[in-house]
């Protein structure tokens, strides 16, 4: 069991450093889309939610899991859609005939 956690910690540390390096390069112009995209990505909690909702071990866990899947899906659908919508608005000068 201890080695599982050790591995998990390694993954966490490496992912954090990778995240910092990748995100530092995001132009300040796109900080709002960045936040809505990472928000959609953090809806990865849907994985745990689906498992809890689908295992149907107790009524409580099924109810909580179903609510959690709903919350996560709101963020997945809403987050990706609005990020895409925002990015579509960013245009260079001169492209639309001006």
């Amino acid at each position: 069991m201890a080695s599982d956690f050790e591995l998990s910690f390694f993954v966490f540390v490496l992912a954090t450093f990778l995240g910092v390096e990748v995100i530092r390069r995001v132009s300040p112009l796109l900080h709002t889309p960045l936040m809505s995209l990472t928000n959609a990505i953090s809806a990865i909690a849907v994985v745990g939610s689906i498992l809890v909702a689908g295992q149907q071990k107790t009524t409580l866990s099924t109810v909580l899991g179903t609510a959690a899947v709903t919350c996560s899906m709101i963020n997945i659908v809403g987050g990706y859609l609005i990020t895409y919508r925002m990015l579509r608005m960013f245009k260079r000068s001169g492209k639309d005939g001006r």
């Binding site: 992912a15 995100i23 936040m35 809505s36 995209l37 928000n39 959609a40 709101i74 990706y80």
Partner: protein
């Protein structure tokens, strides 16, 4: 067989998320980034649905449909509402993590090993506090709640002890996971702490707070990864956590303040009276007609938008002004301060929505040296980020904050409703300079008038 496929799908999903953020670095590749992000999520959800532990899909299907139905209108909100929408989605994300944590606890207690219990306590603590804190932030941004900071005596003592109690409950659960009454206490304390954390925070600090909540929501998903021993969750959560962290650091730097100062400082309360005591100072004001003739004669203009532009919904009128000036051969650019607006990048999205090309939006560091060679700096709804006191007045509460060097432009024009102080509650020296002209009125109406005057004087339309 399926047991081998699922981890592969998860690895592909994690790779997609990393690529998504990498491609978001520039406008040219950003849309591709979103699409690969969607792919990653589809792989993650698909892989999870294959899990043989799932005995029934009924409630999952119901939840997926329900969530999608709510999610679509959440994505169709107007761009002016993006900060509050973001706060709301932080709340949903955090709640999901907290609910799963709660379910896991009651499924596994008392046979939880200490390490898992520690991660679980962290997941629930962060999840529930981010949930209520984000709802509070939503309320303030939507102006359902008062946007001014609310302070009372011993506020920090109350907040801190609440937090200590919550952590203590978590630690006690780690020591003896079977103490089931402690779990609701942990959840309850976290919920209350989340509310009290945001109470003393004012509107202009929202960019930092929203970034911080973004980070917490990610970290609670990450903690869930430790509980479930799922590396995909850890990676995605860590990416979100580091993104929120970087943004909060950028926001804090742009205000020359520390995290603790933002969270526990309750800015802008006391200073107002001290500044008002000075002598009567002279302000020059101009009519839109006069302002338009100065703009029409300029060779270069830098527009400085702030939250006031968003409040007045003036961005489309600003775009008309941009078009008119461009037609007259005047170079127009937009200077964006990192904390302009209510969330990181807020101004860029608003201007992009109004069809202003993104290559005309320039960040503070890049544009500051250009103000001295600029004929007119036009300030629309920005205040503290243009206050020269930040550069020279050591007694000013905003001393040291990086500002846009608007005062160096040949002429400064400020569109403002009245002479009220900015968020920091201090007077802006900019308004009293010889070369500053105040154009009083609602930003949308004033900019509309400027466009009309310019068009009439130059025979456009």
């Amino acid at each position: 067989m399926i047991e081998q496929i699922i981890p592969l799908l998860y690895v592909a999903a994690a790779t997609s998320f990393i690529l998504a953020l990498k491609w978001l670095s520039g406008v040219a590749t950003a849309r591709r980034g979103v699409l690969v992000g969607v792919l990653g999520m589809a792989l993650a959800v698909g892989g999870t649905l294959l899990n043989p532990e799932i005995v029934s899909y009924k409630w999952i299907a119901v939840a997926i449909v329900l969530g999608s139905i709510i999610g679509v209108p959440m994505a169709m909100m107007p761009m002016t509402a993006v900060p509050q929408r973001t706060a709301l989605s932080h709340a949903f994300g955090a709640l999901a993590a907290a609910l799963v944590g709660t379910a896991e606890y009651y499924l596994r207690a008392p046979g939880i090993d200490r390490f898992t219990m520690g991660a679980l306590a962290l997941e629930v603590l962060l999840g529930f506090l981010t949930f209520t804190a984000s709802l509070m932030a939503f309320g303030k941004l939507q102006e359902i709640l008062p946007t001014r900071p609310i302070t009372y005596r011993n506020q920090n003592v109350v907040n801190l002890s609440l937090f200590v109690f919550a952590v203590a409950a978590g630690v006690a659960l780690v020591v003896s996971p079977g103490t089931t009454w402690l779990f609701p206490a942990l959840g309850g304390l976290s919920l209350v702490f989340g509310v009290l954390l945001i109470v003393p925070i004012g509107g202009a600090d929202m960019p930092t707070v929203i970034s911080l909540l973004n980070s917490y929501a990610g970290l609670s998903a990450c903690a869930m990864g430790f509980v479930l021993d799922n590396h995909l969750l850890i990676i995605a959560g860590a990416l979100d956590g580091s993104s929120g962290l970087i943004l909060s650091v950028i926001m804090c730097r742009a205000m020359n303040r520390s995290f603790t100062n933002v969270l526990f400082g309750a800015f802008g309360q006391v200073q107002a009276s001290a500044a008002a005591a000075g002598e009567e100072r002279i302000v020059r004001s101009a009519t839109p007609e006069e302002a338009a003739s100065i703009l029409g004669a300029a060779g270069s203009v830098i527009v400085v938008p702030g939250y006031g532009m968003a409040v007045a919904q003036a961005q489309h009128k600003v775009r008309e002004l941009f078009d008119t000036l461009t037609k007259l051969g005047i170079g127009v650019r937009f200077a964006i301060h990192p904390v302009a607006g209510r969330m990181p990048g807020h101004m860029n999205v608003l201007l992009a929505e109004a069809d202003i090309p993104y290559d005309r939006m320039v960040g503070m560091e890049e544009i500051n040296s250009d103000f001295a060679q600029t004929d007119v700096a036009l300030v629309i709804g920005a205040n503290d980020v243009t206050n020269p006191a930040a550069r020279r007045d050591q007694s000013s509460p905003i001393y040291g904050m990086p500002i846009l060097d608007v005062d160096k432009a040949r002429t400064v024009m400020v569109i403002k409703r009245g002479m009220s102080a900015g968020f920091a509650g201090i007077d802006n020296d900019l308004y009293y300079m010889d070369r500053t002209l105040m154009v009083f009125g609602d930003a949308k109406a004033v900019v509309g008038n400027l466009v009309k005057e310019l068009a009439a004087a130059n025979g456009l339309h």
